[in-house]
């Protein structure tokens, strides 16, 4: 079995490590030189639940959580048949992986001096490569990470983290958005930009906050996908912009035109 066929075709990648990082959250590490050498922060891969089987049928999208050498990691939340099969993949077994897919975060844009990462739940998967880039390039940033309680954080690759929990078991007692609001209200924050990924409610709140303080905000969306590559039209997000919209005038495709969008582009 070859581990690397053609750059743009699906590839069978051997799993080299499996670790549980929080209840219901498993990280799989697999060998994939192409993805490891080309992926940018915010891109994702589409992974078949069971190599060689058509049930479950569709691939599942996962942010590329981490890369090291020729290896990549994804983080799997076990919430259904497909993800449960994937979460139970063992070292030595293979994953059928297509990617990297989607457009990266606009992390090199010059509309900010300081980045603010707003993270909730498994949205964390979109943040480590972004963190790595900011650290490496000495871009100032901070991370506001919210969860229900202190057992649910997956912060191994994050930095400069301010924690918020719904039950007060770690860090700020409340949401990461209220924590961030407190900070923003304290003083002037020249040229910050929010990068948000998490539950829809959190991203809506992040957009509202960015509107209020008049700062740029980019959100990374998660939708149902059938193909992940722009052919099925199954992953629309409503847009207020009319340029460069492929599916008529009303929608962007999350898989190719996203998954991240500027707050002005979309309606969520």
């Amino acid at each position: 079995m070859t581990t690397h066929r053609l750059a743009s075709r699906s590839t069978l990648a051997p799993v080299t490590e499996r670790r549980q990082i929080a209840p219901g959250l498993v990280v799989l590490r697999f060998l994939h030189p192409h993805i490891a050498s080309t992926v940018e922060p915010g891109q994702f891969v589409n992974v078949l639940p069971k190599v060689g089987f058509t049930a479950p049928l569709l691939r599942r999208p996962f942010s590329v959580y981490w890369i090291e050498g020729e290896e990549c990691e994804i983080i799997i939340q076990d919430h259904g048949l497909g993800t449960s099969i994937l979460a139970n993949t063992q070292v030595g077994e293979h994953l059928d992986v297509l990617g990297p897919l989607g457009s990266p975060w606009r992390y090199k844009s010059d509309d900010f001096d300081t980045a603010v990462l707003v993270v909730g739940g498994v949205g964390v998967a979109a943040m480590p490569l972004l963190t790595k880039h900011f650290l490496k390039n000495e871009v100032p940033f901070s991370t506001y990470y919210g969860a229900r309680n202190d057992t649910l954080f997956a912060d191994e690759y994050l930095a400069k983290v301010r924690y918020a929990t719904d039950d007060g078991s770690k860090g700020y007692h409340g949401t990461n958005i209220s924590l961030l609001r407190d900070e923003l209200e304290k003083g002037s924050h020249p040229r910050i930009k929010l990068f948000a990924c998490g539950p829809t409610k959190m991203m809506q709140a992040a957009i509202a906050l960015a509107d209020e303080f008049n700062v740029p905000c980019e959100v990374s969306l998660e939708t149902e996908m059938a193909c992940g590559v722009g052919i099925c039209q199954g992953c629309p997000v409503e847009t207020s912009v009319t340029e460069n919209v492929t599916s008529g005038k009303k929608f962007y495709l999350v898989c190719t035109q996203g998954p991240s969008f500027l707050k002005e582009q979309i309606v969520i």
């Binding site: 743009s8 075709r9 699906s10 078949l48 058509t54 049930a55 479950p56 049928l57 569709l58 691939r59 497909g82 297509l98 939708t223 149902e224 996908m225 059938a226 193909c227 590559v229 722009g230 052919i231 099925c232 039209q233 199954g234 992953c235 629309p236 997000v237 409503e238 492929t246 599916s247 008529g248 005038k249 009303k250 929608f251 190719t256």
Partner: protein, 322 residues
């Protein structure tokens, strides 16, 4: 590995009307876009043909999300014929596809007979050399206007096909819906009206409900079921059409492998289309072509014609009327 396209012991070529397809594996409308996205993941020149996403006169934005739900061995979709409209189609999509060594079949969806005719004539007047013909979608379950209201009415299918026939010498294929009691009268109506072939099936109306919120999972409540889950329905409908008409059949529904395609040939299809499997693997067509060649070799079959309509029914069952 490149498929051999008809050289060697196995000849994959298939003729339909006056068109020669280099192999019988096409990709289905709506499951391959207009080719450009999939071209990043597969060599689309390997395919026997590409049926493009349904086009209407004006662009359509498609339905509100949610549009996709996975179901056992299949998926429900409610895309709502999102498409670029016929003008962008002829200005950008057809010329792009003209660069590839494969046959193009333009699928048309509309909400009136007049619109079907206008779209076909507009494409006809901008035809590219590899445009082999048209597939008329009278079977989309996910739009309020047109779609199924045509495809479930035999008289309307006959009238529409008769109206379109004089407008082109290229292939005229009518895509039928499984959402009828029997597909036989529809196959006969298309044959009588002069269509070159029928393609079947389009998706099966289906629904999925979230039991926590009591809401339908798809925004449009119901949608179209596709994938391996519908293959037995599709095989049965192709069989029924073959028994009751002579019109050539293009089999569609849940095909994921050469074995699956073979089922359709045996019950009477001359060609097949791969749909949902393209979402799982955009390179699926090439794999199926290669495997089909191997499989035919193993069976000692030299051409697809030798497979088409070769169903064997036991004599005693025939005697009982089966």
């Amino acid at each position: 590995m490149q498929p051999s396209n008809g050289t060697g012991e196995v000849n994959l070529k298939v003729n339909l009307g006056n068109v020669e397809f280099k192999n019988p594996i096409l990709v289905a409308s709506g499951t391959f876009g207009y080719g450009s996205e999939a071209a990043k993941f597969t060599d689309i020149s390997n395919l026997g043909g590409i049926v493009t996403k349904s086009v209407s006169w004006k662009p359509r934005p498609g339905n509100y999300p949610r549009r996709i739900v996975e179901t056992p061995s299949g998926m429900l979709n409610s895309i709502g014929l999102a498409n670029v409209g016929v003008h962008v189609f002829v200005d950008e999509k057809l010329p792009y596809l003209a660069e590839f060594d494969t046959k193009i079949i333009a699928n048309i969806a509309a909400s009136s007979q007049e619109e079907y005719c206008n779209v076909l004539e507009h494409i006809e007047s901008h035809a590219t050399p590899n445009l082999a013909g048209y597939e008329i979608n009278v079977s989309c379950p996910n739009v309020k206007d047109g779609g199924l209201s045509f495809g479930t009415n035999v008289d309307m299918v006959h009238e529409l096909t008769s109206a379109l026939r004089p407008l082109t010498k290229r292939l005229l294929i009518v895509k039928l819906t499984p959402n009828v009691t029997s597909v036989a009268p529809f196959a006969q109506a298309c044959e009588a009206a002069g269509a070159d072939a029928i393609s079947l099936i389009n998706t099966v109306v289906g629904m999925s409900v979230d039991v926590f919120t009591h809401k339908p999972r798809l925004a449009t409540v119901t949608g179209g079921l596709s994938g391996p889950a519908i293959r037995p329905i599709a095989v049965a409908q192709c069989y029924n059409a073959r028994k009751n008409s002579k019109i050539p059949i293009i089999g569609i529904g849940g095909i994921t492998s050469a074995m699956d395609a073979m089922e359709f040939f045996i019950v009477g299809a001359s060609l097949v289309q791969l749909g949902t499997i393209n979402f799982v693997d955009p390179d699926a067509g090439t794999k199926v072509i290669n495997d089909l060649q191997e499989l035919m070799k193993q069976k000692g079959v030299h051409s697809v014609d030798q497979l088409t309509n070769t169903l064997v029914i036991e004599e005693r069952m025939k005697a009982l009327g089966w």
